[in-house]
């Protein structure tokens, strides 16, 4: 400071000089430029998001729909040997299957569309619709009725968009007879995977995802939260806790497939838990999610003002009362944000679940957390690998379901967070 000019010799600043004016103008230009850049970034990411959602919805919409063909079935002439009294309750399925309903439906298709087309026009699952219709109203067994039944995959593909030349011709002729209609594919939302695209459903994978997420949440949230609380509130600050902190941070950055290998070796190899089960998937994803929850929770706990702790200690609250009455309620919004991020990541994980066998073909939804199952992202992966043309739209539809699940999960978490948010 010794060589600074004394104030008396300094000339008063002239704010009107051209140099000063141009400096001011430059400052405003920089400001505008920066704002435009920011706006461009936001617009670009918004456009990407819209493009993703738009294209998925456009392609996936077909996956939720099915093409049906109107077909007459004359039950009176078909030689169905069914005792009407047995068409009650659970015995009905057996009775109808035993009576040769599937064959009768095939015969009706051949009668309606000729021997060539009749053999391949209907979806494999079409007779199941007929079965449900009979169970709803057994009186049809004595009549001739026209039913709308789902068509086989190649014809379905051709009806919704470009298909094989042969199938296109079939669709054109059916359309001219006004026999085709479109309806909601309820089976897609209610059944599990199948080799036939018209019968493949998302419910198995969705239920698998829900069970897996439940296991993950129930393990990762309490363990992560308790670990964060202990490390922040109780643990002494020494070399060991530093080491633990570094390890947790590193764990959060480990590639997910390595957690899959760990799960494979530990849960399947050492503990002998069932392969492909949501239990093992959940355990593996909990390993992956826990560090994220620990880090976010520690930051949220750290952000609680020390004055609040002092205040509570000052009136004689015990350390655990300080934590549960004051620190935790104030940190909860941040902790929930971390949990959302962790769970969203876990929901989208595919690689570690492939390692523990969740890529198997599972044709029935899991009944519990130890049943074989698959999850939504793995189902997307599996269907995207299928040869059948019908699986293309199923893949997109599965992505739509995955995104809707993700949005629902986040909406719930944000709702919870806002409820716990305290203003000061």
């Amino acid at each position: 400071m010794s060589n600074a000019a004394p104030f008396s010799t300094r000339r008063p600043t002239d704010w009107a000089t051209p140099a000063m004016q141009s400096r001011v103008r430059r400052r405003y230009r920089a400001e505008r430029r920066f704002r435009l850049l920011g706006l461009a970034a936001v617009t670009l990411s918004g456009a990407f998001l819209l493009f993703l959602l738009g294209s998925m919805l456009l392609r996936g919409a077909g996956g939720f729909l099915e093409t049906r063909v109107a077909m007459p079935i004359d039950f009176a002439r078909a030689s169905l040997d069914v005792d009407p009294r047995r068409l009650q309750g659970r015995a009905a399925d057996l009775a109808l299957a035993g009576a040769g309903l599937e064959g009768a439906v095939d015969d009706a298709a051949v009668a309606a569309f000729g021997p060539d087309l009749g053999g391949r026009i209907l979806s494999d699952g079409a007779w199941l619709r007929v079965r449900e219709a009979i169970k709803d109203d057994p009186s049809v067994l004595s009549r001739r009725v026209v039913m709308s039944l789902p068509v086989a995959s190649p014809i379905d593909v051709a009806a919704k968009g470009p298909g094989s030349v042969e199938a296109e011709a079939v669709v054109a002729s059916l359309r001219s007879g006004d026999l085709l209609s479109t309806g909601l594919n309820r089976e897609f939302l209610l059944s599990a995977d199948s080799t036939d695209p018209t019968r493949a459903g998302i419910w198995g994978a969705l239920k698998g995802s829900i069970l897996t997420m439940l296991v993950t949440l129930l393990l990762a949230f309490p363990i992560g939260l308790l670990a964060a609380l202990y490390l922040e509130e109780y643990a002494p600050k020494n070399r060991w806790t530093d080491l633990i902190e570094v390890s947790i941070n590193n764990l959060a950055a480990v590639p997910s497939i390595i957690f899959g290998l760990l799960g494979l070796a530990l849960f399947l190899g050492t503990f002998g838990l069932p392969r492909s089960a949501p239990l093992v998937g959940g355990l593996t994803l909990a390993l992956l999610t826990m560090p994220v929850i620990v880090i976010a929770s520690r930051n949220a706990i750290k952000a609680v003002p020390p004055s609040i702790r002092d205040a509570a200690l000052g009136v004689g609250a015990s350390p655990i009362q300080v934590v549960f009455h004051h620190v935790l309620p104030l940190a909860l919004p941040g902790i929930l944000t971390g949990t959302i991020i962790g769970m969203a990541r876990a929901l989208g994980e595919t690689a570690p679940l492939l390692m523990i066998g969740m890529r198997a073909f599972i044709a029935a939804p899991p009944d519990g957390i130890t049943d074989p199952a698959t999850v939504l992202p793995v189902q997307v992966f599996l269907w995207s690998d299928e040869v059948g043309r019908g699986f293309v739209e199923k893949t997109s539809a599965a992505i739509v379901v995955l995104l809707v699940f993700l949005l629902a999960m986040n909406a719930l978490a944000i709702h919870l967070r806002n409820r716990f948010e305290t203003r000061w």
Partner: protein, 255 residues
């Protein structure tokens, strides 16, 4: 000054933060019936000393306290002392008003509730009302007890913190620069309050403001560089200090 034994006796107290010594061999008695002011320049250790009296320094990771501090003859640093109970008996008001982000009622009711001081809802309401009245806040907040405590003005917040402290019926109240974040009018109200509370609670107050020390206290301790320079009747300290360092400080030569 008084004819019964002091409420708190601190003898040969030393405090370290890591390797740095913050308090050097301080001995002070805090009287039951008077207000004791701790004054001194920034960093002289007066706040640190205050916080040893209810063991708030326990929460500082590398702080170490040595010496003998007794509350009614009980060693507060003995392993038998329950810190939670100690802090209920020795309440504290902090520099910055720090109400909980909860309603005014909840702020005051929290202490009695965790210590189980009220057996019924109406008894708790009674405690809240008495405490707020004693803190001179009742008339201003009686119609909005369910509003957030953080929505009050700074001075009101500090009086709420005092109400919160007296709700657990402490024997001693420690005040760590309670007016440093307040305007002169709010400060005057707190000082009036200290006058009103005197006698019922033993009060120790840390302050930067020498006029304040002169106005509210009967006894004053002057700290400098971690040492207790002089301790005696406030009138003596301000009119006829024994030590030159005290005289320099109160005449504004440094600090």
């Amino acid at each position: 000054m008084s004819n019964h034994p002091p409420k708190i006796t601190a003898t040969h107290v030393n405090v370290w933060y890591g390797a740095k010594k913050a308090i050097d061999d301080v001995s002070i008695d805090i009287d039951q019936d008077s207000v004791t002011a701790l004054i001194g320049p920034s960093g002289c250790g007066k706040s640190t000393f205050l916080r040893t009296l209810n063991r708030m320094n326990d929460t500082v990771a590398n702080a170490r306290v040595q010496g003998d501090i007794r509350l009614d003859g009980e060693d507060i640093y003995s392993p038998d002392m329950d810190v939670v109970q100690l802090r209920a008996r020795v309440g504290m008001v902090f520099q910055k008003p720090n109400p909980f982000p909860k309603s005014i009622y909840e702020n005051v009711a929290y202490g009695p509730r965790i210590h189980g001081l009220a057996s019924s809802r109406s008894e708790l309401e009674g405690i809240v009302q008495t405490s707020l009245k004693r803190a001179g806040l009742w008339e201003e907040v009686k119609d909005r007890l369910s509003d957030s405590g953080t929505a009050l003005s700074g001075g009101q917040q500090q009086r709420l913190c005092i109400a919160r402290a007296i709700a657990v019926d402490p024997e001693v109240i420690l005040m760590d620069e309670p007016c440093s974040a307040l305007d002169p009018i709010a400060t005057a109200k707190i000082e009036e309050l200290i006058h009103a509370l005197k006698g019922r609670y033993a009060i120790a107050i840390v302050t930067h403001n020498m006029q304040q020390a002169a106005r509210v206290s009967q006894r004053t301790a002057f700290f400098h560089l971690g040492q207790l320079v002089e301790y005696g009747a406030t009138t003596e300290i301000f009119t006829n200090p024994r030590e030159e360092r005290t005289r320099d400080y109160i005449t504004g030569r440094y600090g």
